[in-house]
């Protein structure tokens, strides 16, 4: 049996387990449910667990190791001259063999490869056979054992409860391990990069030109991996974005929370939040096709030298994108300020704007700052807009009218197209990713800590 069929079989067996478990429990007490410790369905789930869990585990483990084991067996049987000694060569061989099996092989002319492919196919069939046998045996064993366990006094409900908990833990573990895995892979690749390019060159170098020459005698034969222009570019654009987003977001939040009538509020708040739902690529071409040319023309009419892809254009549009982050969170926090504080200020004769400026904003400030930090980390990580509107030239400049590039843009350009996976150019992307990750992580942690502290204060 192949694997999809096997999975289906497991599901069928598990369902059967449920049915027989339930039936068994009812049989034991000859239909008098009150005498059972748990409801009959729990005995069903219990038996289903005994059938389903071990077989599924076996299937997963088999899937995990089958490829590697089979490949090793096949390679070991190849004639000596093909085997070579490096791991890379073995991987290439396996690829060739698999391709041949699929009938689309490039090296199908080689008879020994052809033989190996046949061998592989044979082994695969044996493996599938073994697996089917194992699954059926395990299902039978588990079913028999579980079935025997079912008694009047058996606490099936508690066991099912435990099983559910283990399952939930497993799910969350997968999420956590995925994160850990991503972080680790980024770290490992970065370490490889830092073996080729010193950390200090990367972090403090002022020149970014990641093109590696193909031949040693070419001009600019070695790339430069000084990331400072990228950091400053990112900071410049994020700064422009925050200059746009913080005042507008904060003011609109104040208007919505303090001045707007409930009717206006119910309409305006969702409208504002729609801004957050616009796909960033839409913002991107808006920035590249509308805002950037407009700024260039405006600059020309003022006699300024504006490049057609400017930090200003990208920053402005990114700022618009971030407005709802700032306004929505600020609005929540302004609303969370207790009415009693407003009453206190009004009762002293403060006007509404005095109350807002002197009492409400200070009270909501930690939350607002947290919201702004979240928005900053969003701005730093934003890719699409800057890819489309900010340009690719790594200028070390603070001039918002010049073209700059950002960390995310460079990651994209480094990885687009044909790549060698061990060239510094490709690995540099991971190093940049690591820096980006660390910065946004720190910003997020800081923001969450501030927000949480503030929440405790008023709840």
């Amino acid at each position: 049996m192949d694997k999809p069929t096997l999975l289906l079989l497991i599901l069928v067996l598990t369902t059967a387990g449920y049915y027989f478990g339930r039936k068994r429990s009812l049989d034991i007490v000859s239909g008098k449910v009150q005498e059972l410790h748990s409801l009959p369905s729990y005995y069903g789930y219990y038996l289903a667990m005994w059938v389903g869990v071990p077989t599924l585990l076996l299937l997963l483990i088999w899937l995990g190791f089958e490829g590697a084991v089979l490949s090793r067996l096949v390679v070991a049987d190849l004639p000596g001259e093909l085997q070579g000694d490096s791991g890379e060569r073995a991987a290439l061989l396996i690829n060739e063999i698999r391709n041949t099996m699929a009938g689309a092989g490039s090296g199908s002319g080689d008879p020994s490869i052809q033989a190996a492919a046949n061998h592989y196919r044979h082994l695969q069939a044996v493996s599938d056979w073994l697996l089917s046998l194992g699954v059926i045996a395990l299902a039978a064993l588990g079913g028999w054992f579980g079935h025997r366990q079912i008694e009047v006094e058996q606490r099936a409900r508690n066991k099912v409860e435990k099983g559910t908990m283990v399952f939930l833990i497993a799910c969350s573990t997968i999420a956590i391990f995925t994160t850990v895995g991503i972080v680790l892979s980024v770290v490992f690749e970065s370490v490889l990069f830092f073996q080729k390019v010193p950390v200090t060159d990367f972090l403090f170098g002022l020149r970014w030109s990641p093109q590696m020459a193909i031949r040693a005698d070419q001009v600019g034969s070695s790339g430069a991996f000084g990331a400072v222009p990228l950091f400053t570019g990112t900071l410049l654009i994020s700064f422009i974005a925050m200059v746009v987003a913080v005042p507008i977001g904060l003011m609109s939040a104040i208007y919505l929370a303090e001045y707007a009538s409930p009717r206006v509020r119910t309409v305006a708040k969702p409208l504002l939040e729609i801004l957050a739902g616009v796909p960033t690529v839409v913002y991107g071409f808006f920035a590249a096709l509308t805002v950037a040319p407009y700024i260039r023309d405006l600059g020309q009419s003022l006699g300024l030298d504006v490049s057609s892809e400017s930090a200003l254009a990208a920053g402005l549009v990114m700022g618009v994108m971030i407005i709802p982050f700032v306004s929505s969170l600020s609005d929540d926090f302004i609303n969370a300020v207790p009415q009693s504080l407003r009453d206190g200020a009004y009762a002293l004769g403060a006007t509404q704007s005095e109350t807002i400026r002197q009492v409400i904003i200070p009270a909501a400030l930690p939350g607002i700052v947290g919201g702004i930090l979240l928005a900053v980390s969003r701005a730093i990580g934003e890719t699409m807009i800057v890819v489309m509107a900010a340009g690719l030239s790594a200028n070390l400049t603070a001039n918002p009218l010049a073209a700059v590039t950002t960390v995310t843009t460079q990651i994209v350009t480094l990885l687009v197209g044909d790549q060698e996976f061990d060239s510094p150019k490709t690995l540099a992307a991971f190093a940049l990713g690591l820096v980006l990750f660390l910065v946004t992580l720190m910003l997020n942690i800081a923001a969450l800590m501030i927000v949480r502290k503030y929440r405790e204060q008023y709840e």
Binding site: L341, G344, Y346, A347, L348, G349, A350, P362
Partner: protein, 295 residues
């Protein structure tokens, strides 16, 4: 003051069989019509004069035709069952109801002869004249010093820093808090205990030198000792201010007030000298409330 309640209870027992007409009014002169309210609505030296005050929350009427004077240097207690409109009424007196959407006030309320609901009236100085202390202490998230200095600052009451410091110290002294906080004026106001916070709020209110102080259940969040402290404070403040206090504790009303007004379902049922209202209520509803038959 317990003796007062005992006295009242004893009197109730005496009077149970003879149930006189609900509205005695034997020694009350009604030269004008003040609705159904029993007792002396007017005060000889009135600071605030409320006539035919109605309050609506949207279509719902919460206060029905209340007439009441609040006299100079007196403490008037507003009592009544929950939801009868005490808070609503007291918030009318400094136009705090303006901040509630859909709340409408009709009738006239005068402070020293001036209608506070006059469209010409500026609520900012008005609220400086009529201060308010709330049920839950609500110090601003600022330092103790800044909490008290806030009012004088926004009203520009002081010329320089030294004067402001003097006002802050004076207010804290009068609120009986100075000795406890004089070494920690830069600590946040929210770090004080509940009773201290409430006294801080009182200090904040008297720092702008109001003429009338409204208090809406100022002790309901406090323990008996803090309550006693604030009651003593109210008694002292009476010398300088006119005070209206909402309370659920009849003992407290009896201890701090000179006059008592009993509200029921948005109507002012009875007003009178505190001792008289508690020992000899004239209206059946007042009597029922005071003797604990409902509310």
């Amino acid at each position: 003051m317990n003796s007062l309640l005992e006295l009242k209870t004893a009197m109730r027992d005496e009077r149970t069989e003879v149930k006189p007409a609900k509205r005695l009014g034997t020694n009350v002169s009604f030269d004008r019509d003040y609705g159904d309210t029993v007792g002396e609505v007017t005060a000889s030296n009135a600071r605030m004069v409320c006539r035919d005050v109605n309050v609506f929350y949207g279509p719902k009427q919460a206060i029905h035709g209340v007439n009441l004077d609040i006299g100079r240097n007196e403490v008037i207690a507003l009592i009544g069952p929950s939801g009868c409109g005490k808070s609503t009424f007291i918030r009318c007196l400094n136009r705090m109801n303006d901040t509630i959407v859909g709340c409408r006030v009709t009738g006239s309320i005068q402070l020293d002869g001036q209608d506070i609901y006059d469209p010409q009236m500026d609520v900012v100085p008005l609220r400086a004249q009529i201060g308010m202390v709330f049920q839950k202490p609500n110090p601003f998230p600022k330092s103790i010093y800044e909490n008290v200095a806030y009012g004088p600052r926004i009203h520009g009451l002081t010329q320089n820093k030294a004067e402001l410091e003097e006002v802050v110290e004076n207010s804290l002294r009068r609120a009986g808090l100075w000795d406890e906080v004089k070494d920690s004026l830069d600590q946040p106001g929210t770090s004080l205990s509940g009773g201290q916070q409430q006294r801080l709020c009182i200090a904040r209110t008297i720092a702008v030198n109001p003429e009338v102080i409204l208090m809406d259940e100022p002790c309901s969040a406090l323990d008996p000792i803090a309550t006693a402290r604030i009651e003593q404070l109210i008694d002292e403040l009476r010398m300088q201010f006119t005070i209206a206090i909402v309370t659920h504790s009849m003992q407290q009303a009896a201890r701090v007030s000179q006059r008592t007004a009993y509200f029921h379902l948005g109507k002012l049922i009875e007003v009178g000298e505190t001792a008289q209202v508690f020992t000899n209520p004239r209206h059946q509803l007042t009597e029922d409330y005071i003797t604990g038959r409902f509310g």
